[in-house]
């Protein structure tokens, strides 16, 4: 094929290469498939195949390629294929997979299945088993054990000899870590440093001893933060005694960032975080993740009914007042949602820390006041223009304008204070956002509104 026509791999291409191979599983068709499609493309093509075709394909291909394809699949699909392929074949595949992906799959299987796969694995069973004991969202839970470690006492020639032996197994070696005889992390080298060094240099002399690491039981967000701050391609993970136990690579962190954001967005909209994708979650699951908060908010929201009820007299006399209620409480809620979302995101990205709290609160107060005045003026204008038989234009304008000002001010201040306070006492700020703030503002807003109405009308 002429070079200029070789475009980005398309899944259609991968699928037809797969079908070619299945129709006639010759060495030639295999070569075409292996050089014409990347594992991730074949994985995507797999979704269009029948179960039987998948089984044939994965059995016919060499297990190294099968493993590369397998680890690109979504975990539920991996579990499904496990049922199709059986324990022995799966164990073959799992022992060729990257250890972190292998551990992720085993965690999804039930204990017996995981056990029998581990006992059928020819190599790396121990490494994968070790990974299983860490919390899923800890640094240990996302690390892989395919790191490259050199001893500080070796020279460059010895290092290269060792690398030739270790390397082929390790896709993730961006840096080479340096350890002492007890595997304590001592330093770091890039492959670049190694290639450029003299063959007789001692590793300890050419390494950088300023090496950043995370503890195996730290939260994965900690690792993500370090990656973002320092721009590494990989990060070593150490145990309590500073012994090297694994590495995290920067593309693992892409998924961490996305998962954390998804979790935050779900929480911010009063939903318990979903474990699966939307389409893969059942109706009852989606319902249960949402109904909990919906009911909790219903109960707090029910205060509005009793507030309205206790102002029945004034509502009966001036029905016009009710017309502005939805606008008033919505705008208070909106201002609160804005403030809380902005603060929650800034906290998640660590844009400020505790020492900035007063500055943030002062800034939010000013912004809130400005917002209150802006929308309050609009409220005044709208209520003055709207014809009413019961109220003078100046009365309705004052009541609506003043309460809009105060409710927006209140909503915005509460919206920023709640997540800040939650963060201060170690709660997840994302939970105290939009819907929660809105519900608080609903009740408070009505109290403000009726209080002002009564004062202005002299009741």
């Amino acid at each position: 094929m002429p070079l200029e026509q070789r475009n980005l791999p398309r899944n259609g291409d991968a699928l037809s290469l797969v079908r070619n191979f299945l129709d006639n599983p010759s060495y030639r068709a295999y070569k075409e498939l292996a050089s014409g499609a990347l594992p991730a493309d074949i994985a995507e093509a797999l979704k269009s195949l029948s179960e039987e075709e998948c089984r044939r394909l994965l059995t016919l291909l060499p297990s190294e390629l099968t493993a590369d394809i397998f680890q690109e699949l979504d975990i539920p699909l991996q579990v499904e294929l496990f049922g199709v392929l059986g324990i022995e074949k799966t164990a073959d595949i799992v022992s060729e997979m990257d250890s972190d992906d292998a551990a992720d799959l085993l965690l999804e299987l039930n204990k017996d299945e995981a056990e029998s796969i581990l006992s059928n694995m020819e190599e790396d069973a121990e490494a994968v088993k070790d990974l299983l004991k860490y919390e899923e969202d800890s640094s240990g839970g996302i690390m892989a054990s395919e790191y490259v470690a050199l001893n500080e006492n070796w020279d460059v020639t010895r290092a290269f000899d060792e690398l030739r032996v270790i390397c082929p197994d390790s896709d993730k070696a961006y840096y080479v870590y340096v350890v002492d005889d007890e595997r304590h992390l001592k330093g770091v080298l890039s492959l670049r440093d190694l290639v450029m060094a003299n063959t007789t240099d001692k590793i300890a002399d050419i390494m950088s001893s300023n090496v950043m690491s995370v503890k195996v039981d730290s939260d994965q967000e900690e690792a993500a933060y370090i990656f973002k701050k320092y721009g590494f391609l990989s990060l070593p993970v150490v145990d309590d005694e500073n012994r090297l136990t694994g590495i995290i690579s920067s593309n693992d962190i892409i998924h961490v960032l996305e998962d954390e954001t998804t979790e935050d967005i779900h929480k911010m909209s009063a939903t318990l975080p979903l474990e699966d994708t939307y389409l893969a979650s059942g109706i009852v699951e989606l319902w249960s993740k949402r109904v909990v908060w919906l009911l909790a908010l219903f109960i707090t929201g029910a205060f509005t009914s009793s507030i309205m009820r206790s102002n029945e007299a004034i509502l009966g006399q001036f029905v016009t007042l009710i017309f502005f209620v939805p606008m008033l409480i919505d705008e208070g809620g909106n201002a609160g949602s804005q403030a809380s979302a902005i603060i929650i995101r800034a906290l998640a990205l660590r844009e400020f820390d505790l020492s900035d709290y007063l500055k943030v609160i002062w800034k939010e107060t000013k912004v809130s006041l400005m917002l209150g005045i802006s929308i309050g003026l609009m409220g005044f204008a709208a209520a003055s223009i709207m014809p009413s038989e019961q109220l003078l234009w100046s009365q309705s304008g004052t009541i609506v304008g003043l309460s809009t000002l105060l409710v927006v001010l209140f909503g915005s201040v509460i919206g920023s204070l709640l997540p800040l306070a939650a963060h201060l006492v170690g709660f997840d700020p994302a939970v105290l956002s939009g819907p929660v703030v809105t519900t608080i503002v609903d009740s408070a807003g009505l109290l403000i509104y009726f209080y002002i109405a009564k004062s202005v009308l002299g009741i």
């Binding site: 791999p9 050089s35 499609a37 991730a40 690398l163 082929p168 961006y174 890039s190 670049r192 290639v195 300023n210 990656f227 320092y230 721009g231 391609l233 920067s250 593309n251 962190i253 892409i254 996305e258 954001t261 967005i265 909209s269 994708t277 939307y278 989606l286 949402r290 109904v291 908060w293 919906l294 908010l297 029910a302 509005t304 009793s306 309205m308 009820r309 509502l315 009966g316 009710i322 017309f323 209620v325 939805p326 606008m327 919505d330 909106n334 804005q338 902005i342 800034a346 844009e351 400020f352 912004v367 400005m370 802006s374 929308i375 609009m378 409220g379 709208a382 819907p435 809105t438 009505l446």
Partner: protein, 458 residues
């Protein structure tokens, strides 16, 4: 900041101050060379303005560049203005090209011109090219520090070539192969080269299947490829397939964060901004929020008009008003939930346009289940809140039915409208909580009063 970091930082600060007051530039260079640039940048930010300037002046350009790379754009531009374009051009030239380009694009045109003039012709030309790409395109985030081999090089020569030219490269994990016209024809890792037979040709050991991205494509496209293939670096090519730069995985972390922040801000009804909270001025904060608040205010007035249309019913049964805030609040919450879930699923490409009908059918059923629960709760509540002028059973049924339908409509609209927005090539993130709430308010009130008229017979 934990204790350990604080102590380390304070120690570093003291050391730097001591070296600065001694004017020991060699000592400073030696000291700074041993620290991590991000830590140095943090210590730098704590120095007085005067110390900052003298530190940058005393350090050799390469080390100063390491610090400058880690600073916020605001601090960077301030610094450039202070130290003058001559020193700045040395530092910017020593920075990684993607960071340097970001900085240059933030400066005044005059300053940029000045700085480019003080650079070598070739270097300036390269920056001019990088500056021509859109900020959020693949070209806008790529760097140009990569190593490219040619297909006919022998492996041992290639290794030697890398030794000579690779010092500046952002990554040697991926080494690219280009033909005589600089077109990208293959890729291999340093490992491939190290373990290969030294007498083979590069073309014999390279992988010909190269995933790449066009220089003008959106940065999100690059992010998608990283997610799909799990690379550490991605080559960027121009329209003739010529290799022009690379994007590394750590660049993508910032893209992922930026896109998420943008979505979250839009979902909360604010204009999105790429500045941090602290560096955004109060008036800018106000402006970003007041636009949507004003639009929503106007839209919210519709609920006033709807109620005005039902004024007689309201006057006849004032107790009807008691449940209005709760009713529209519940519908709005259900809508916020489903819209947030849907917007995120669309952003992660877990749900596609073709799934639209499936989603709406799913939300209808979930909405029904949610509506049944809140509807029942509504009936119970109506019994608990005494109300005059209307039969309690009628009131209960009215509340129950309108709660059921309002929550259902909230769920369906919350999930359906973002998908429709995407159909129309609008940003789905805008159709979130605040806007959905407003729509559900109006629909909920119509349902409520229509039901009341039917059941209570007003």
């Amino acid at each position: 900041m934990d204790e350990e970091t604080r102590v380390r930082l304070e120690k570093m600060l003291d050391d730097i101050k001591a070296l600065l007051s001694a004017g020991d530039s060699a000592g400073l260079a030696d000291y700074a060379g041993q620290q991590h640039p991000a830590d140095l940048a943090e210590a730098y930010s704590l120095l007085s303005d005067e110390d900052k300037r003298s530190l940058i002046r005393l350090l050799p350009s390469e080390l100063a560049a390491d610090i400058v790379e880690e600073l916020d754009t605001e601090d960077q531009t301030e610094l450039v203005t202070e130290i003058g374009t001559a020193k700045a051009s040395g530092i910017i030239g020593a920075m990684e090209s993607d960071d340097a380009t970001d900085l240059l694009s933030e400066l005044d045109e005059e300053q940029t011109e000045d700085i480019l003039k003080k650079m070598g012709r070739e270097e300036a030309q390269e920056f001019k090219e990088l500056l021509s790409y859109e900020d959020d395109s693949s070209g806008g985030i790529m760097g140009t520090e990569y190593v490219a081999l040619t297909p006919n090089m022998k492996v041992d020569y290639a290794l030697d070539f890398i030794r000579r030219t690779g010092r500046e490269a952002q990554t040697l994990n991926d080494i690219y192969v280009v033909d005589a016209d600089e077109r990208l024809v293959g890729v291999l890792s340093l490992r491939d080269i190290v373990v290969a037979n030294p007498m083979l040709k590069v073309s014999e050991i390279m992988h010909r299947k190269v995933v790449k991205v066009g220089v003008g494509s959106d940065q999100e496209e690059a992010a998608q490829l990283f997610k799909k293939y799990g690379f550490s670096a991605l080559p960027v090519v121009d329209e003739h397939d010529k290799l022009t730069g690379i994007i590394t995985a750590d660049d993508i972390l910032h893209v992922v964060d930026e896109e998420a922040t943008e979505d979250i801000q839009k979902m909360a009804g604010t204009l999105s901004s790429d500045e941090t909270y602290m560096s955004t001025r109060t008036t800018k904060h106000w402006f970003n929020r007041v636009i949507w608040l004003a639009i929503l205010f106007l839209a919210d007035l519709s609920s006033g008009f709807i109620m005005k249309g039902f004024e007689e019913s309201l006057e006849a049964v004032v107790s009807l008003t008691f449940f209005i805030p709760l009713l529209i609040g519940c519908g709005g919450n259900a809508g916020s939930q489903s819209s947030a879930i849907m917007i995120r699923s669309l952003a992660l490409k877990e749900v596609h346009l073709k799934d639209g009908l499936k989603v709406i059918w799913k939300e209808t059923r979930i909405g029904l289940l949610l509506g049944l629960v809140t509807g029942l709760a509504g009936i119970v509540l109506s019994f608990l809140i005494p109300h005059a002028g209307v039969n309690w059973l009628h009131m209960g049924i009215t509340i129950g039915i309108s709660m059921l339908f309002t929550v259902m409509i909230g769920s369906v609209a919350g999930a359906g409208l973002p998908i429709i927005a995407m159909h129309l090539n609008l940003d789905p993130a805008v159709i979130a909580g605040p806007l959905i709430t407003t729509i559900v308010d109006a629909l909920g009130l119509i349902i409520y009063f229509s039901t009341a008229r039917m059941i209570i017979g007003l």
